[in-house]
């Protein structure tokens, strides 16, 4: 073994003996774990070799005959030839410690153990390149190299340059040429303009959207200790409501508190809750997205919703349950993914009244590790995800009951299809004996489609081919209704779809026949208009 080197650990432990730490490297995988460049393993053994040792070509010396070899394997092969007894034959079977090497040149950056390089060959090459003399020279150009392999690699490339961009730059590699060419024009144009960075100014909104998540890390990342987080949340919720007594549990008080403040207060507290609760990355992930959505919610400050405390409570409970999610999810990476995307939908100004005691329960439960599934359902039961836009929270409240006056477009299309189907069914399919439950009718009248939208008897509107005179027509429509057995909801036509002309082929053939037979539309149009007037009256009266 070479005499010159000594070893010490990077972390500064001043033990001189070469046994050093008994720290075993992580053995989870068979393959060596590569550290990121520039960041050596802190438990590794640091070896400082002298320049002569570093430059020596025969590092490995046989202990029997003192013959030197460049490689360890070669030494081993040589040793076999000495016919060693069994015990001496084995190398010392201690685990190979991770070794890192420092550069002997004191002015070099890599002289510091914290900047040690992990590979012996690497440190040798580095030393030669930086601190050695350049003995190798390229014969085509004047470049000089200290390491022979560098020189060889260069001379292969030198003179083989093929790619020249229009701006004059020359490339020896195809990919760098292509990449450069793609940007070359853009670069030229940009440099011709003033120095303002176009990407930053053209994406103000995106930047703004981005800045909100960036704001959150400083808030979320320092892990606040759990108890203080809880108390801070308590205080914050209460501070938003001056009229309540401070000792009161963080149950929302009835007095109106400014909702944005309440929103922010609870949300930021819950953020710290989350970040403190777990050490898995999913929590910070989660709180990031969490905060970004709440920040955006505060950007559109909702008008004071009447039950502001429930809002606070809601966010609190939501966040509390969410923190459960993240803690429960510390074991599974995927729920982090899930939680992060999920959070953006659940936490915004939502309106459903929560169970406010849930807040205290959840906080007190304080991140009890549970399976990830249960807290998710808990979260769902307490909060109703809503869209990001805070403003819609209120408006949605106003038309939270399903849209009575306006039918959905899908429903309208269904209805139109049924009318078409009914019309075609009536004329053709009976003859073909194809299934149709529509009552047999002769005339095609569109006017009868006009039914009072609030009235649930949709079937009445189907083109059953009733004559277009007013009230009698409607009565017949009503009588026609039992044929279909419609559902009494304005929105749902799907049930009817099954009843009326659900056979695709039938309608298709009806189409063909009706077109082929030269369907006369004009009369229908005239009657349509007449029918429209009358049915409007009907609509109003019924």
């Amino acid at each position: 073994m070479p005499v010159d080197d000594y070893s010490s650990t990077v972390s500064g432990d001043a033990s001189v003996s070469s046994t050093g730490n008994q720290n075993l490297p992580p053995k989870s995988t068979v393959k060596k774990k590569r550290n990121l460049p520039g960041m050596p393993d802190p438990d590794a053994e640091v070896i400082a070799l002298s320049p002569t040792t570093l430059l020596a070509t025969n590092r490995f010396v046989c202990e029997i005959c003192n013959k030197g070899f460049q490689r360890d394997q070669n030494l081993q092969l040589h040793r076999r030839g000495h016919n060693l007894p069994w015990k001496l034959r084995q190398r010392s079977s201690k685990e190979v410690k991770k070794r890192v090497y420092v550069c002997p040149e004191p002015t070099c950056v890599h002289h510091d153990p914290s900047r040690a390089l992990g590979d012996l060959t690497g440190i040798k090459k580095h030393f030669c390149r930086k601190h050695g003399e350049k003995k190798w020279k390229c014969d085509k150009c004047s470049k000089k190299y200290a390491v022979q392999s560098d020189w060889k690699a260069h001379s292969k490339i030198c003179g083989t340059r093929e790619y020249k961009c229009d701006c004059g730059t020359v490339f020896s590699r195809r990919d760098s040429f292509i990449t450069h060419r793609a940007f070359c024009d853009a670069l030229a144009v940009e440099s011709a303009k003033t120095q303002t960075n176009p990407s930053s100014e053209s994406d103000p909104k995106v930047q703004a959207a981005d800045s909100s998540p960036r704001r959150s890390p400083p808030a979320a990342s320092p892990p606040v200790s759990a108890p203080s987080a809880i108390t801070s949340s308590d205080i914050r919720i209460q501070s938003s409501d001056p009229s309540t007594v401070v000792e009161e549990a963080p149950a929302p008080a009835p007095a109106p508190s400014p909702p944005p403040a309440g929103l922010n207060g609870s949300s930021s507290s819950s953020v710290s809750l989350v970040s403190s609760g777990c050490n898995s990355s999913s929590s910070s992930v989660f709180s990031n997205l969490f905060t970004s959505t709440t920040v955006s919610a505060s950007i559109h400050p909702p008008q004071p919703l009447a039950p502001a405390p429930p809002l606070v409570g809601l966010n609190g409970s939501c966040s509390g349950s969410v923190s459960l999610v993240s803690s429960g999810a510390s074991s599974s990476s995927s729920s982090g993914v899930f939680a992060s995307l999920f959070a953006s939908s659940t936490v915004s100004a939502s309106i459903q009244p929560p169970q406010t005691p849930a807040l205290t329960n959840l906080i007190r439960a304080d991140l009890a590790p549970s399976t990830s599934i249960e807290p998710i359902s808990l979260c769902l039961s307490t909060s109703h995800g809503s869209s990001i836009f805070g403003t819609t929270g209120q408006e949605r409240r106003q038309h939270a009951p399903p849209l009575q006056p306006a039918m959905s477009a899908t429903a309208l299309l269904q209805k139109a299809a049924q009318m078409g189907a009914a019309a075609s069914n009536a004329s053709l399919l009976r003859g073909l004996g194809i299934v149709s439950s529509s009552a047999p009718q002769e005339n095609l009248q569109w006017g009868q489609a006009q039914v009072d939208p609030d009235n649930a008897s949709i079937a009445a509107g189907l083109g059953l081919g009733l004559p277009c005179d007013g009230s009698s027509g409607l009565k017949e429509l009503m009588m026609g209704t039992p044929v279909f057995g419609p559902k009494q909801t304005t929105l749902d036509f799907l049930g009817l779809g099954v009843a009326a002309g659900g056979n695709p082929n039938a309608s298709l053939s009806a189409l063909i026949t009706s077109i082929g037979s030269g369907f006369d539309a004009t009369t229908a149009a005239a009657s349509f208009r007449g029918g429209d007037y009358t049915s409007k009256d009907i609509g109003r009266s019924s």
Partner: protein, 475 residues
């Protein structure tokens, strides 16, 4: 609500055509005062009727009648009104655009001063789509979970994103990978996009995220059109595990297939669809029985321009096939495809119009149920995202028509013939996605799994599909 099977949806296309035939208002004067007094439902029905009529006229080339229909629609439609009014507004704009294309000089002139969408506006709309709808979120959950599971035990992971515009997906993946028990892999993400700024933004965000979590990460931006992609630029190294993700992008590759066929047809645009329809109808009267077996209008049409991507025949799409083969050459461990699940690639206008009417009705209904009518974000989504898609579907043809959504079964066929076999999506991922959908405030979002693929639906209409694939070994 769930009683309805898919058959009424199919039937409705043809029934709608009957409906449109039912009463055609003759050419009269322009003002219809009673039109304004219609109630919402009646107005909606009338709008549908007018739309179909107009489309029929456009398809057959009778532009006079189309003009009248357009005028009537304009009295009723409005981008600020109820769902049907909005839909009608965008569809008529598309139809008008299509008509205008028959005078190419006029079309170019009218669009000459149109400002190309700013990068920031596009980014905003994309972000809105991500936030307002759960579709992308659920899809990302499924895709990421599939990638994480496929990459278990891999040390070097290379993810290729065929349309790298939304960093949220990869941020979630980075977080997911960093939390895995054996530690994070060395991650490389190659993103392909047309605009450099989008890629720069994305690279920046992702690098930031990876740095926070201390994951070795590299972002490789590839600027250019997907159609012209040279897989060499992806720099796939041996030994790395490759995952390819395509979110709503693959269908645009189908656009290049029409070109050679288009060139063979000397017919002008206005005539081709009309002739096609008439020919079809004439033929059909003789073989009624035969027709009763087929499903759609286009199923029996013999004209050449339907050879590409007719709904029932096996898809002939050389460009996509070449592309998929090239991808397969990278020997990816996993390919995940997210696509719209609607057939907007019919070769006739009417077909596309009917299908897209249904799909976009569903999407507009989503918006109606979740966002208020006054919201400007909703307006932006409707106009800049859906409106543009509708315009592309209705008024463009050939290589210009990029929004060629197709149903999942056709994608399955394509991927199968390119040498991939299906990998069922992770149950855990599906569970997460389902929970996400249920967490949204309206209960219209549903999810169903079929043959290992997932369809995300609104009410009962599948809107988006996610499927995962791996290379088949025998090839």
């Amino acid at each position: 609500m769930s009683q309805n099977e898919s058959s009424p949806l199919k039937s409705s296309s043809s029934s709608l055509q009957v409906f449109s035939m039912m009463s055609l208002s003759p050419s009269l004067g322009s003002s219809y005062p009673w039109l304004k007094e219609l109630k919402s439902e009646e107005r909606g029905l009338y709008l549908i009727h007018l739309l179909l009529t107009c489309a029929n006229h456009v398809a057959t080339g009778s532009l006079e009648n189309a003009n009248i229909a357009l005028e009537q629609i304009s009295e009723l439609a409005s981008p600020d009104g109820d769902t049907m009014q909005r839909i009608a507004a965008y569809f008529t704009e598309a139809l008008a655009d299509r008509i205008l294309k028959t005078w190419p000089g006029l079309h170019k002139a009218i669009n000459s001063t149109r400002v190309v969408d700013l990068v920031s506006e596009q980014a905003l709309v994309r972000r809105l789509f991500f936030e307002v709808f759960p579709f992308l979120k659920a899809a990302f959950l499924l895709v990421n979970q599939a990638i994480i599971e496929a990459m278990e035990g891999e040390k070097v992971v290379h993810v290729i994103d065929l349309d790298a515009a939304e960093p949220m997906q990869w941020i979630a993946l980075i977080r997911g990978l960093s939390a895995r028990p054996e530690g994070p892999p060395h991650l490389r993400i190659s993103g392909i996009h047309v605009r450099k700024e989008v890629l720069d933004q994305m690279g920046h965000r992702l690098s930031e995220e990876a740095e926070k979590l201390d994951i070795p990460f590299q972002f490789n931006p590839v600027v250019g059109e997907l159609e012209d992609l040279d897989v060499e630029r992806l720099h796939v190294k041996t030994g790395e595990a490759v995952a390819i993700s395509s979110v709503l992008r693959l269908h645009s590759l189908l656009a290049s297939d029409d070109e050679p066929l288009r060139k063979k047809l000397p017919l002008a645009l206005k005539n081709s669809n009309g002739i096609h329809l008439q020919r079809a109808l004439r033929m059909s009267q003789n073989t009624l029985g035969e027709l009763l077996e087929k499903d759609t209008v286009n199923g029996y049409s013999p004209s050449p321009d339907s050879a590409s991507s007719s709904p029932l025949s096996s898809p002939v799409s050389p460009k996509v096939d070449t592309f998929l083969t090239a991808l397969r050459g990278l020997l990816p461990k996993l390919v995940v495809i997210t696509e719209q699940d609607s057939n907007h690639n019919g070769s006739t206008l009417m077909e596309r119009l009917l299908e897209s009417l249904h799909s976009y009705a569903a999407l507009f209904d989503c918006l109606e149920s979740t966002v208020s009518r006054a919201s400007s974000e909703r307006l932006k989504l409707e106009k800049m995202l859906f409106g543009n898609e509708i315009k592309n579907i209705i008024s463009c043809e050939g290589a210009e028509r990029k929004e060629r959504h197709e149903k999942l079964e056709k994608w399955i066929q394509r991927l199968d013939s390119a040498g991939f076999c299906n990998v069922p999506l992770s149950y855990y991922g599906m569970l997460q996605a389902k929970t996400l959908l249920q967490g949204y405030n309206c209960n219209g979002y549903k999810m169903k799994a079929e043959n290992g693929c997932v369809m995300i639906c609104w009410q009962d209409r599948p809107m988006f599909s996610v499927s995962a694939w791996r290379c088949r070994n025998s090839l």
